[in-house]
Amino acid sequence: MGDSRLRVGLYLSGTVVGLVLLLGVIAPFVPYDPADAVDYDQLLQAPGMGHIFGTDGQGRDVAMRLLKGTEAFFLPGLMAAALATVFGALCGAVSGYAGGWLRGGVLGTMQLIDTLPRLVFIILVCTILNPSIYLIAFVAAVLFVPSIATVIRRRVEALGSEDYILAHVAHGFRPVRILLYHILWLQCRPLLIRQATYVFGYVLFVEVALSYLGDYGVQEPDPSWGNMVAQARGLRGVSAWPWAVPAVAIVVTIAGFLAFGNLLARADEEEVR
């Protein structure tokens, strides 16, 4: 891929990521009462002054619901991304660096988790526990640990096999510093960011799916991108805005996060070449 196209892609996807992060951070500070927002004088307004994305079937501002809807996945997504990358990185580093029973134990556990089909398992957890989105995010994080650990383990093994760790040990560095700083932080950061964006995107996807299906996700009148689409389903042919806006937001966000992670990792590889 050309250098400039890579850069453009990074800027575009980076803008999406930045925007979502911005919305996620400010949303909790914006006061919103979903009951209060209903306004039967303003049903299905087209976008315009006052309502940049128009209003829905109950006269509620779509842009506002879009903003508040980020609360449904933002913190759980961040939490899951952080948990999965930290534990994935540690498991990967340990199984790539250590030997013997420690490596065997970690690898075995990873393989076991990896046999679980993610979405099926999450739905199973939902039907049994009817959990909060945080528990779902936690489960998603655990389910992602093995694949992250594998990526990191490969990198650690590739680096370790080339006398690389040995040369740093020889120089007097502590193994912990070599592993955490020289390898994980300096060498695996783009890989980890990529994995983190996957997990974040996945949590959004799961939240959207659950809210859309309606039984387990965010319940009306509280907004979520998933239930916004579900709510506006019946409006097809009447007004596209109430469902098109959240639908586009979902697709753009997931695609933006995945692309950002991928492009960042690729830019990093090209830089080292």
């Binding site: 040369a167 020889a170 120089h171 007097g172 502590r174 300096l186």
Partner: protein
Amino acid sequence: MSERSDLLSARGLVKRFRSRSLLRGGQTTIALDAVDLDVHPGEVVALIGESGSGKTTLGKVVTRLTGLDEGQVLFEGEDLFAVDRGELRERRRSFQMVFQNQTANLHPKMSVREMLDESLRLHRPGLGEGERRQHADELLDRVGLLPRADQRPASLSGGEKRRAGLARILATKPKLIVADEPTSGLDAAIKLQIIDLLKQLKGEKLTYLLISHDLGLVRRIADRVLVMLKGRIIEEVPAPLLGQTRFHHPYTGRLMRAADLARDRRRPPRERRDPPRVTRPDEAEARGGCVYSPDCALAERLGILSRCRRERPPAQVVGESHWIACFGAPSELAEEDE
């Protein structure tokens, strides 16, 4: 035998590598076979021998980068394999190894200056930020890399990578440097630059264990030369005598001819008198004998081949600071010195 003034004194080093294979059972490679090694302060000791003879392994053992099956390594009189891990890390700054693999010596994500800064922070914790920078600049200047200080390894040439690796090691103010093949893979002009740099550092009273099969480099820099074959040191010779005396181990002679042949491109390879094989007939009687015996023309000429196959030849002194582990070594010289 070991003197107080020895910086490094190793005795009876044995290192085996076992490769486990389910089908064929375990196979053992003897990488070091009862090796003794002394390095005195201020001298450059060269280790030569074809690849696979155990040079790198010896370098790693005397810096405790790999385990040891038998023997003892004393660094400044202290048993290196007896100190605990924390102590060892402290000691490491005194003996540094430059790896043959250049990507191992450098961090791909750090500029040369950043690497030096990190090393100085680790090894000279007393220095402030400004002093570290000044020190880094001095080191960079010493190895002639000041203009390239902010480059990462990927944009450095082969020779510059060597310099960077050396600078990083010099940051610890080591007492002993083990340099593994410092000129391998470089073309002639760059090689000369590195040789000059190593020479200049030698002038600054640095002590090296120089691992190389580049005889040109060895002759220019080393004080003493140790010849390794199949995990054994089979000759020690003062560097100025290398190739200048008729008393050489037959294997050293072969190395010398190979080096000369390599320089003279006109001679076709098929005229090479020495077969590429070193050892086999069954690993020279499972290593009870001389490891060169399956290839040795001298043994045949002297009619001592059966003895060479069965007994390990002891060191025979053939001159001042010069010995050869060979039954064919001139006996009158050997007796004179005993």
